[in-house]
């Protein structure tokens, strides 16, 4: 099967969901939403399984790449496609139980959410295969527009405000992206990403115009990643929107931005004159991102806002392998492996935490930290799952987050980037505080917690939480099992 059919499968599934939702939801909304979630999960699951099977045994030739000069399909692409499909499956499961569809005629049906979810995932998967700037731009736009809708889907006040913020800021960043891409095309005459960078090495190349384009593109990508000067939208948008979209934004969208950043950095190695400036820029960006993310999270009381700042900090950590790429004598395989392990750790832990937040939010109607109080008495299983997830994010040993952080620290030490190393360590210390603040609420009961009842956790949530907690600890101890699976 040609590899580009995978995204087409997702689009077809999304259209199917739209039809089902249009006709079936008149009779029974709950059945419709279950059905659409099932279809979404099936489509995404099929995609993920085919990709994994192909990666594990390429000789079976389950997938081929006939459009290979326009459609990128290497190992890193497969990794990211699987990453996006798994995170989308988890978000689909998450959203199925967060909103009951029994109230309000004006509220959009949940089937539409699943449809757009699939389109966003298809967009991100296309982004993973982008080889030229037009492909990049169109896929990025699909993702962005999908998110504009998802963020304000149920039209509550918080969601609308978050949606407007994301729309305006995202619109500006898209405009900058297009302008930058047009400068790159204008000065180089190519649309293929590698050629754009390669051609700067020719004699008498107008590097100033090219640099302008490159900087504008970097600005737009930094917006998506949420790194230093363009991270202001993250806390407000993450807090305002519904929990499922927050989960998708913080995991998948951020990973998509980082992926583009990584590809651009890899391509930038082809341009000799970019080494040093990129090194400086990345140093400043990483230090500032780490400081802002970790220090900003210290004061947060709302869980989603806390996770917003924590995701800024984690993005700072994830930029470190990209920073290591500027040292061209360095071991590319190690950098790529570290990058992927950190992303996996981030995915499992953040999704697990968001499932806990969603479960608590549904019953206790609040995403404030105090909604978690008394959880160790009422739901010890949920408390343990949250503890494991937070420990992994903080980087406590015996979790996969620790292995990921060690990989990052090893990269920094080998590159002798002492300033970033010290700030990353300080950031890790600070992160203990804000992650364990939640543990304080869970385990150290206050008087009001006596009246809290047990939270009913839907079965899919329990299954996901069990699997992710076990995975976090298992991979934390036996990470060697994971290595053959990585690009």
């Amino acid at each position: 099967m040609p590899a580009h059919y995978l995204e087409i499968i997702l689009v077809v599934a999304s259209l199917l969901i739209v039809f089902i939702d249009a006709f079936l939801s008149k009779t029974s909304k709950i059945k419709a939403s279950n059905l659409t979630t099932t279809i979404a999960c099936l489509a995404l699951g099929y995609v993920a399984v085919i990709l994994c099977a192909y990666a594990a045994q390429p000789k079976l030739e389950l997938l081929s790449n006939p459009l290979s000069d326009q459609f990128l399909f290497d190992e890193l692409t497969i990794f990211f496609k699987v990453f996006f499909s798994i995170s989308t499956i988890l978000v689909a499961l998450l959203v199925n139980h967060t909103k009951t569809t029994t109230d309000g005629v004006d509220k959009p049906h949940q089937g539409a959410f699943d449809a757009i979810l699939l389109l966003v995932c298809a967009g991100m998967m296309w982004l993973a295969s982008a080889k030229d700037i037009i492909h990049l731009f169109v896929a990025l736009e699909l993702v962005a527009i999908g998110f504009y809708v998802l963020i304000s889907f149920w039209r509550s006040q918080g969601e609308l405000e978050a949606g407007i913020k994301y729309l305006i800021l995202g619109g500006v960043s898209t405009a900058l992206l297009v302008y930058g891409l047009s400068w790159l095309y204008g000065t180089s005459g190519c649309i293929d990403i590698n050629s754009i960078f390669n051609i700067t090495n020719t004699e008498g190349f107008p590097i100033e115009g090219w640099l302008l384009g490159f900087i504008l593109v970097l600005i737009a990508i930094s917006f998506k990643v949420g790194s230093f000067p363009f991270q202001l939208w993250i806390p407000d948008v993450y807090q305002g929107t519904n929990t499922a979209t927050t989960a998708l934004l913080s995991v998948a969208s951020k990973a998509a931005g980082l992926m583009i950043f990584y590809r651009l950095a890899q391509a930038a190695l082809l341009t000799e004159s970019l080494q040093f400036p990129l090194f400086i820029v990345l140093t400043v960006v990483i230090i500032a991102t780490l400081l802002i993310g970790n220090l900003g999270a210290l004061a947060q009381q709302n869980m989603k806002r806390l996770f917003a700042y924590s995701s800024i900090a984690q993005a700072g950590f994830l930029l470190i392998p990209i920073f290591s790429l500027t040292d061209i004598y360095y071991d590319k395989d190690l950098i790529q492996a570290t990058f992927c392990i950190y992303l996996i750790a981030y995915l499992i832990a953040t999704m697990s935490a968001f499932f806990c937040i969603a479960a608590v939010e549904k019953q206790r109607q609040s995403s404030h930290q105090n909604a978690f109080s008394g959880l160790s008495r009422t739901n010890p299983g949920l408390a343990v799952a949250m503890t494991v997830a937070l420990s992994s994010l903080a980087g406590l040993p015996l979790t996969i987050g620790f292995q990921a952080k060690i990989g990052i620290f090893v990269l920094l030490v080998e590159q002798q980037a002492w300033l970033i190393f010290v700030i990353a360590l300080l950031g890790a210390i600070a992160s203990f505080y804000y992650y364990f603040k939640v543990l304080r609420a869970i385990y150290w009961c206050k008087e009001s917690s006596e009246s809290q009842e047990k939270i009913k956790i839907p079965l899919p949530y329990s299954i996901v939480l069990c699997i992710s907690s076990v995975l976090i600890i298992y991979l934390g101890l036996f990470i060697r099992e994971l290595l053959p699976l990585l690009p």
Partner: protein, 490 residues
């Protein structure tokens, strides 16, 4: 066979989380572990007890240098026995309310398991990682069941120890990368090949000292310790002060002195001054304390000074048998005596409701057994001959004078040793004063009434038996330490 210790602990935790009676399960499991541990260490060939745990510390390919595993060797044998003894004491001596039993026992098991695995680790990453495992249960216990100012103390402890741990991690990572190995055997081989230059060694040693020093409560980085031990529930302070602190000391010996000896030598002048801060300064602070738990907390910080002195001697002369034996014996003896004292002070609090010296007094009449135990434990802590602490301290001081004996030269180490001898006087002061204040003399009227009406009961029988076991261990260390020493090579 070592794996049985881990399996039994995990089974105990699982059983308790499924609501089996927490205290009984814990006592049985802890007693079993102790018997297995004694058999492993004393009646077995130690080479059979290693357990290989798969793992990967870095993303490079594996080999001897990256093997990660657990084993009981001669250097951690004493500490493993200490852990098992103190774990048993933790479940018997402090008296837990039934509704708290489940949470507290699970946390205590987790801390104990973390200690056991950390001591048995044969590579730096596991060594570090399992210590961290013990940090979260301590944090949770302190915040939930602490005595006073629980939350602020818990945060202070957590942030301080997180700082120490991350500085330690930086040092360990630097060591691993410069030496190119993770396992202890691999690092030893790379040290023999002299692959780390002097400048790097100084940095690594500095980071290790700062990191481990914070965890051991070395002088300027000690301020988390007195509050933590005074305010935490007894089980936690028994485990932390008695057992978990020794992790840092073992780390400095196994990792610092073994793998970056020249780097550590650079820091010895600083270390000499700082350890005097522990002994003299904290000793004097301890004399000023007016409550049993505060006094015990400060005294445990003070005693670390002697162990640092042993480390300084070992830095100068890593093959010094006297210093090594003194170091090992004092670690075990100090752990036993501190844990016992914390446990007994909890019994005093529960019977009389107070820790203040002014309010207590004359308890020797109504609690004769407790009085005997407390007396022996206090004598151990202040270094009375025939108990383990004396042996350890004596060996350490003797070995510290070795340099003077051999070369006739009065070095900084000699000065430090002479000044730290005063620590014995200081600990005698507060130890004897506390015993006299609590068990002899007169007490306040409320307590006198209760004593006359016989409502203050003596220590429970099970606690009495376990305390006797700990005291027998202290006597063995004090009277015939050869029984232990023959099992350590150097």
């Amino acid at each position: 066979m070592f794996i049985y210790l881990i399996i039994i602990s995990l089974l105990a935790i699982t059983a308790i989380s499924f609501n089996l009676p927490a205290k009984r399960v814990s006592i049985i499991a802890a007693a079993l572990n102790l018997l297995i541990g004694i058999q492993l260490c004393f009646f077995n060939d130690l080479a059979q007890s290693s357990v290989e745990l798969m793992g990967l510390a870095s993303l490079k390919d594996e080999g001897e240098f990256f093997k990660m595993g657990l084993a009981i060797t001669s250097s951690n044998m004493g500490l493993i026995i200490l852990t098992l003894l103190v774990t048993l004491a933790v479940f018997v001596i402090p008296e837990l309310a039934d509704k708290d039993a489940k949470f507290q026992t699970i946390c205590s098991w987790l801390i104990s398991l973390g200690c056991l695995l950390a001591f048995a680790a044969q590579d730096v990453i596991f060594f570090y990682a399992f210590h961290e495992l013990a940090l979260i249960p301590t944090f949770l216990m302190l915040g939930r069941y602490g005595k006073r100012a629980k939350e602020s103390t818990a945060w202070k402890m957590m942030i301080y120890l997180a700082f120490g741990s991350l500085v330690l991690l930086a040092g360990i990572l630097l060591l691993v990368i410069k030496a190119g190995a993770v396992s202890f055997s691999g690092l030893a081989a790379s040290v023999a090949a002299e692959s780390i230059n002097y400048h790097d060694q100084v940095w690594i040693a500095g980071l290790l000292l700062l990191g481990f020093g914070t965890l051991i409560s070395l002088f300027p980085f000690h301020s988390w310790a007195p509050h933590t031990y005074a305010n935490s529930p007894t089980a936690t302070s028994m485990l932390h002060a008695g057992v978990l602190k020794k992790f840092g000391l073992l780390g400095l010996w196994q990792i610092g002195i073994a793998f970056v000896p020249q780097g550590m030598a650079y820091w010895t002048p600083t270390l000499c001054v700082l350890l005097l801060g522990n002994i003299i300064f904290m000793g004097l602070v301890t004399i000023n304390q007016r409550k049993i738990d505060d006094m015990l907390a400060h005294s445990s910080v003070m005693h670390m000074g002697y162990l640092f002195l042993a480390l300084v001697v070992l830095i100068y002369n890593p093959s010094s048998q006297l210093a090594y034996q003194g170091f090992m014996i004092l670690m075990v003896a100090h752990g036993l005596s501190t844990a016992l004292l914390f446990g007994l002070s909890d019994v005093i609090k529960r019977r009389t409701g107070t820790f203040h010296f002014e309010d207590l007094g004359g308890l020797g009449k109504s609690m004769p057994k407790l009085c005997l135990l407390f007396a022996i434990a206090t004598m151990a802590a202040l270094g009375l001959p025939s108990l383990g602490n004396f042996t350890g301290e004596f060996l350490i001081f003797f070995s510290a004078f070795d340099t003077y004996r051999s070369s006739g030269e009065w070095t900084m180490l000699t000065t430090t040793t002479v000044i730290s001898l005063w620590g014995i006087v200081i600990s005698a002061t507060y130890g004897l004063r506390s015993f006299r204040a609590v068990f002899q003399g007169a007490s306040n009227t409320y307590l006198t009434q209760r004593m006359e009406s016989q409502s203050i009961k003596d220590i429970k029988f099970s606690a009495w038996i376990v305390s006797i076991i700990l005291i027998i261990a202290l006597f063995i260390l004090g009277i015939s330490p050869q029984l232990f020493i023959q099992h350590f090579a150097s």
